[in-house]
């Protein structure tokens, strides 16, 4: 097993700059998700780690060794693709064993490792079935089996669950993470689905327009987003943004929103008068008759345990997550308050988060 270290990685395709100075480290045995919208450069980054693309600049180290210019076959990695290309004319056993056969492993050894992989993936009873009749989840397990028989130092996965329906995907998320906990292989996993990343990763690297905007634990990414983009991309529904115009002194503990003061985590940097954005997560919005922001209920979405209430305000539509037993009428006027210690502040122009007491840890003790 091995550490993966990516330093100042750049990739251009002609005039298109796909990846800009990407740096991150995946420690031995860690599970890192590269997360971002389509076209953000996450798959290109993964393909460079695999050796399927050569970087324009930068280095890639695998277990300390510089492999930047090594061919894919000379890197000790296994790749799982989104479209699991199984060989349709082979049964499950031969599909899983195929990579070993290509490496010239003895038949007895192939058999032993295929049986072991099948046991780990709980598909032992499918080994002699043709792959054509398998359900989506089982096909994906076979594709994973082909990766794990090789006992490589690391796994690279490109949206391996993207083709499955919601229910199967949720089951596979838990299964993949449990598999990772058993095997402990260093893993880089590409996805555009923030829930997959939040549920599985030890570390998330959020990418946008070829740039890695933040590398942190799922909890830090959620609680302390480094940019407007990250705050908006993570969370369902995403963070609410309230634009305002003000200057901020270092140490300030409130900002003026319209004619009301809103308490914030103490500012740790001074900001000249400019367009700023206050960010509040839906679960930190509270209903209160004397609330700071007033608005009209636009709709409520029942989710069982909780509901999402959308309120039209002068700052745009704000969403609040509340218990499902509170009743709201469409058109009703309500007041909203925000939980002070969890609020984020951003520069509107650059999108960068403003440093506050929030960044000194301790929101969750």
């Amino acid at each position: 097993m091995a550490q993966i270290k990516v330093e100042a990685l750049d990739k251009s395709f002609g005039t298109f700059h796909a990846v800009r100075s990407a740096s991150f480290t995946v420690e031995d045995g860690q599970f890192l998700c590269l997360l971002g919208p389509s076209g953000c450069g996450k798959t290109t980054t993964l393909r460079m780690i695999a050796g399927l693309e050569l970087p324009t600049a930068g280095t890639i180290r695998l277990g300390g060794e510089d492999v930047t210019m090594n061919r894919a076959s000379a890197r000790d990695i296994a790749f799982v693709f989104q479209l699991f290309a199984l060989y349709p004319h082979m049964n499950v056993r031969r599909n899983i064993g195929f990579p070993l056969k290509c490496e010239g492993v003895s038949a007895a050894e192939i058999d032993r490792r295929v049986v072991e992989a099948a046991r780990i993936l709980r598909i032992s009873d499918l080994l002699d079935r043709p792959v054509s009749g398998l359900a989506g989840g089982d096909r994906q397990r076979v594709a994973l089996g082909r990766a794990i028989v090789r006992k490589t130092k690391c796994f690279l996965m490109d949206e391996p669950l993207g083709a499955l329906d919601t229910e199967m995907r949720e089951a596979m998320i838990r299964e993949l993470r449990a598999l990772h906990d058993r095997l402990g292989a260093t893993t880089v996993y590409v996805t555009h689905d923030q829930l997959e990343a939040m549920a599985m990763a030890d570390i998330i690297a959020v990418m946008n327009n070829g740039v890695v905007e933040q590398v942190a634990s799922p909890r830090d990414i959620y609680d302390r987003p480094a940019s407007l983009f990250v705050a908006d991309f993570i969370g369902s529904p995403p963070m609410n943004f309230l634009p305002f115009h003000a200057a901020l002194a270092a140490g300030a503990q409130s900002v003026a929103l319209g004619d009301r003061d809103v308490a914030i985590p103490a500012a740790r940097e001074a900001v000249a008068e400019s367009d700023l954005v206050l960010g509040v997560r839906p679960e930190h919005v509270r209903f209160s008759d004397r609330g700071t922001v007033r608005g009209e209920v636009y709709g409520a979405e029942y989710l069982g345990t909780t509901q999402i209430v959308t309120v039209t305000t002068r700052y745009g539509a704000l969403k609040a997550r509340t218990p499902a037993n509170l009743a709201f009428r469409t058109g009703e006027t309500v007041g909203l308050d925000f939980r002070p210690d969890t609020l984020s502040l951003f520069h509107k122009a650059s999108g960068r988060a403003i440093r506050t007491a929030l960044h000194e840890g301790g929101v969750h003790g």
Binding site: P37, D165, T166, E167, R177, D181, H192, D193, Q194, L195, M198, A199, S217, P218, R219, Y222, D223, I234, G235, S236, P237, P238, R281, P282, E283, Y298, G299, E301, Y302, L303, G304, T305, I308, T310, R321, T330, H364, G365
Partner: protein, 340 residues
């Protein structure tokens, strides 16, 4: 808009190698005028076949379809006055957004005056927030805008019923969230009757007036989202709704199960958790911080249990907690719900 009634409809398909498969089995369902009914079920449950039977794209083997009291079972799709929105928005790429939306109204059999077409398209475009895109070519739009046009093409007509087959599933998560709210709002404003097919429980829960849970061609239960969530008729329906999924545990894990109970169904709100051991103790195996909430994975004597925990509860893997039940659901050996 009109009431649509599906009466004891069955439909099977023959395939080359296999015996006929029963796609829809004695399904009965009435969609009231102005109602939004969602059919929820996994791939292959028979949801899309039901929709196609109402549309007239398939003919039932048995049973009948009535629209506004009239038996339309033998009618061609064009004579049924229904509008269909497909998962794949097949827009005409060479036409503008306006022309795409006006297309159905310009059919020779309809003879809608041009001024009326214009007024209708503009009104619907405003509802869908695409009024500034009317002169764009359909191919110059983003995925979300294209799907709005596809929905708009149906909305310009005033059919008896809108039939929608997973219309949001090709959109990304964020857009899907926005469109859910919009579609519900538009349906309420127009008083539209909608039969909507989805495998996404969030879509069904947030938009539908009533949800029909369908499995292997049969309608298992029909009711409001709250009825289905709080009062499921069997373990299968209970497992369709709720995130995290309901925990189905052997009845003897906790004391006090009623006679004949084989399984306890415990949702997050049915489980009280306290630090330290108790009558029933479990070990924390993993905590997933999903942001607004955390999934607490527990090992209860070899049974996995998943429940929500406060993100601020300082629990970690290896910690021992005690579990108490609070009005859970009970099911018998066949999965049927038992009174507590």
């Amino acid at each position: 808009m009109a009431e649509v009634e599906i009466r004891a409809v069955s439909k099977s398909f023959k395939s080359r190698a296999h015996a006929a498969t029963l796609a829809v089995s004695e399904l009965s369902l009435t969609i009231a005028n102005g109602e939004f009914v969602a059919l929820l079920g996994p791939t292959g449950a028979g949801k899309t076949t039901t929709l196609r039977l109402v549309a007239g794209l398939e003919t039932p083997d048995l049973g009948s379809i009535r629209i506004d009291g009239r038996d339309v079972t033998g009618d061609a799709p064009a004579d049924r006055d229904v509008a269909f929105v497909f998962q794949q928005y097949s827009l005409y790429p060479h036409l503008t957004v306006f022309e795409n939306m006006a297309f159905a109204l310009r059919a020779p059999t309809r003879r809608v005056p041009e001024a009326e077409i214009r007024a209708k398209v503009e009104q619907v475009a405003r509802l869908l927030h695409i009024e500034t895109k009317l002169q764009n070519k359909a191919t110059q739009l983003s995925g979300g805008q294209m799907q709005r046009v596809a929905i708009g093409r149906a909305l310009v007509r005033s059919p008896s019923i809108y039939l929608m087959d997973e219309p949001l599933s090709s959109l990304d998560a964020k857009l899907r969230g926005e469109m859910r709210l919009e579609l519900k709002r538009i349906q309420t404003d127009l008083g539209a009757t909608i039969l909507y097919v989805t495998h996404d429980q969030t879509e069904a829960m947030t938009m539908a007036s009533r949800i029909g849970v369908i499995e292997a061609g049969r309608l298992l239960q029909i009711g409001t989202p709250r009825e289905i969530y709080e009062n499921p008729v069997n373990a299968h329906v209970a497992a369709r709704l709720g995130q995290p999924s309901i925990n189905l545990l052997p009845a003897d894990v906790f004391a006090g199960a009623p006679h004949g109970a084989k399984t306890i169904g415990a949702r997050t709100e049915h489980l009280a958790i306290a630090r330290g051991g108790g009558d029933v103790s479990a070990t924390v195996t993993r905590i997933e911080h999903l942001g607004d909430q955390s999934y607490l994975h527990l090992d209860l004597g070899g049974q996995p249990v998943v429940t929500l925990s406060d993100p601020e509860a300082a629990l970690g893997a290896g910690d021992v907690v005690s579990l108490r039940l609070n009005n859970p659901l009970f099911f018998d050996a066949t999965g049927r719900r038992l009174a507590a």
